[in-house]
């Protein structure tokens, strides 16, 4: 669906103040942001179990035939 998950680093630039409170090196911030997006990005395209489509169908049917 949307690409928005890919667009934001872990509070990268806009959270600079918060990120630097404890003196986390910028390279560490970047690596964490990249790892998070990588791991999350691996889950996103995984095939959906059939049961979700089945559930949605069932919900739609139950509304039509209450």
């Amino acid at each position: 669906m949307s690409q928005d998950h890919a667009g934001t680093a872990v509070g990268s630039a806009n959270d600079r103040d918060g990120g630097q409170d404890r003196g986390l090196p910028e390279i560490a911030e970047k690596q964490i942001a990249a790892e998070l997006r990588k791991v999350y990005g691996q889950i996103l395209p995984e095939p959906m179990p059939e049961k979700f489509a089945g559930l949605l169908d069932q919900l739609a049917k139950s509304e039509r035939n209450p």
Binding site: G18, I32, V39, Y40, L44, R64
Partner: protein, 183 residues
């Protein structure tokens, strides 16, 4: 006449499935738990579609249902059985700290050791791209709290993964201290 949600709502919910599932998978401790969570979220969203304000953010709305469901399940289970997962996480962390730099964790193992509220903060902001203000609304906390959760999550991850070179003084006794912060 029918009480069912309009078709566009149904379509949009279906389109959000991969994101809902990825969020659930990242929060849960097993794929089975994650799938149950997604199913329950779908049913709840479906049944309460009238509470959704059209033209507002359906993704934020469904994610909120999912995280609320997750947290209430967690609370329920914590009351029923001893939190062996948390215990294990703590032991792992202590062990990691005691072994110092010989036993650094990878991202996924480190992430699994974070408290739930830090996990969700990092996922909402860093993985899903919600604004801090949105994420704070979703989690029912102040924007500053959300920022601080993300920050603490990053600091903890850096520590577990050995990326926090500025605080690296190579002292084993120093390294044990942060383990208590987990859980």
């Amino acid at each position: 006449m029918s009480a069912g949600p309009p078709e566009i709502f149904q379509r949009d919910i279906a389109a959000l499935l991969p994101n809902l599932r990825a969020f659930a998978r990242s929060l849960s401790r097993s794929p089975e738990e994650a799938d149950d969570l997604v199913q329950e979220t779908l049913v709840k969203a479906w049944k309460s579609w009238q509470h959704f304000t059209p033209d507002t953010n359906l993704k934020a709305w469904t994610f909120t249902i999912l995280r609320n469901t997750f947290l209430s399940e967690r609370r329920k289970r914590k009351n029923e059985v001893q939190d062996t997962d948390g215990l294990l996480a703590q032991q792992l962390s202590v062990r990691g700290a005691q072994l110092g730099h010989m036993d650094l964790l990878d991202f996924q193992k480190s992430f699994a050791l974070l408290p739930d509220e830090q996990k969700e903060a990092l996922l909402l902001i860093g993985a899903e791209g919600f604004a801090y203000e949105e994420a704070a609304l979703m989690c029912g906390c102040a924007v500053g709290t959300m920022k601080s959760r993300v920050n603490r999550a990053r600091v903890k991850l850096a520590e577990l993964m050995g990326l926090d070179s500025t605080s690296d003084v190579g002292s084993d006794t120093h390294a044990v201290r942060p383990a208590r912060a987990v859980g």
